[in-house]
Amino acid sequence: MDLRTPLGEEILELHAGDLVTLSGTVYTARDEAHLRMLKEGIPFPAGGAVIYHCGPVIKEGWILAAGPTTSARINPLTDPLIRMGVRGIIGKGGMDESVVQSLRGKGVYFAFTGGCAALAASRMTLSGVIWEDLGMAEAVWVIELDHLPLVVGIDAHGNDLFSRVRQTAEKRYRQLREKESSHPC
């Protein structure tokens, strides 16, 4: 499915594990920008907005590298933004159960492939910056996406692909530990 920002009710149709692309405006935000948003409010139209957990490398107005950062650091700072209307989050590694609950009926979490900084940059055009005083990595960069390939990691129905995979891995780990290895070191 090809999605475009601002996101609306169509995201309620998405399910964890769906492959999508996203086009339109997104806003980068890491720890510092989140802390300021909680104090001063969201500095862009919040309704249907998408936040990208990313600290890009920008050189002379060009995006050189813009892979995702680990979303888990931002777990405790996310609920208020979803309440204010943010409908999409892009990051890597997934988020905790509190965010899964916050997203219920309201929004989705998209996983973008970690380390794919050059691919991300090739699907992006820089269109502005907010709170540049936070520094390159922490500022809010306004970016136009052109079909960024994403996976729905957490949907609006409480399904979390990351935790599903984790539970399977734990079960298989117990099975593997019970089996004797035929190849001692």
């Binding site: 997934g94 050059a118 940059a121 390939p149 995979v165 190849h183 001692p184 070191c185």
Partner: protein
């Protein structure tokens, strides 16, 4: 006997350092590329196929645009072999530091090096103990760089196991990967050190990451199959491909010890080597096309 303090040799080492880092950051070694391509062909999970497709496209784009593969350009770990006619003097370290500073400007690298307590950034990716430089005697003057990202380094572990329980090595490797989950940006490569001392085993695990991954012995293959059995998949989103390879390096140890370390490496397993010509001409050769580092050395 040549001294790295001689201006011509000093500059050759600086240039070699810049070349090795540039090559490593932009282009993956051929064996890693091939392993990712193979995974892309054999992976059955559709989400995992999407992730591997993104990784392969990213590799192509980084090469075409001559930009780093990942925005975490890592901290630089260097392995140097010195031939008998080159002296090991402080100028060798100074020249490598200068090369890292120049590469930080030119590639560019993200300034990643900070004071551990104040967290103040040093700026050019150099500092006390970084880049890490390991020097050994060899037949040729070579410099190999291994830029190491934090996502995978942070989930690496070591343990002092019981000598009577060798079977726990496999359990420790599996446990390390289970705890790491999607955090180290899988598909990963696991460097496993077995033996040596408490400090030495971690070095063995990191050195295992220099080995080509296009072949594994039976023990390595069995560990790799077990890790893939966890089903963590690329980025922790599930799938058949959790590890591209497991490489093991061993060292002898105290009869009462069994040190084990697992150094986790992300899919962007970056390394490159430069052979430095110590003659007057500058015919240094940069390559990360090698299949077997030991052969080149």
């Amino acid at each position: 006997m040549r001294d790295p303090a001689e201006p011509s040799l000093f500059q050759a080492i600086v240039r070699a350092t810049v070349r090795a880092i540039t090559e490593a950051e932009i282009q993956l070694p051929i064996d890693v590329q091939e392993a990712l391509q193979r995974a892309g062909r054999t992976e059955k999970n559709p989400v995992a196929r999407r992730e591997l497709g993104n990784i392969l496209e990213n590799i192509t784009l980084a090469r075409r645009l001559q930009v780093p593969l990942c925005q975490d350009t890592g901290v630089i770990v260097c392995y140097v072999t010195l031939p008998p006619d080159v002296a090991y003097t402080p100028s060798l370290t100074a020249a490598i530091h200068e090369g890292v500073r120049q590469a930080t400007e030119r590639v560019p690298l993200r300034p990643n090096v900070v004071d551990p307590c104040s967290r103040r950034n040093t700026g050019p990716n150099t500092g006390g103990g970084l880049p890490a430089i390991h020097v050994k005697p060899g037949e040729r003057f070579t410099l190999t760089v291994l830029p190491k990202g934090a996502g995978s380094e942070n989930v690496s572990r070591s343990a002092m196991l019981l000598p009577s329980r060798k079977e726990d090595i496999r359990g420790f490797v599996l446990e390390t990967m289970l705890a790491a989950g999607g955090k180290p940006c899988p598909p990963v490569i696991l460097g496993v050190g077995i033996g040596s001392t408490f400090d030495g085993v971690a070095a063995l695990a990191k050195e295992a990451l220099l080995e080509p991954i296009d072949r594994m012995d039976e023990f390595e293959q069995s560990l790799c199959d077990a890790v893939n059995g966890l089903g963590i998949g690329p980025m922790g989103l599930g799938g058949d491909t959790t590890a591209l390879a497991v490489k093991v390096t061993r060292g002898d140890c105290h009869t009462a010890s069994l040190p084990v370390a697992v150094n986790v490496q992300c899919w962007a397993s970056r390394r490159a080597m430069v052979i430095i010509d110590v003659g007057e001409s500058d015919h240094s050769l940069a390559t990360n096309r090698f299949k077997n580092l030991q052969e080149v050395r």
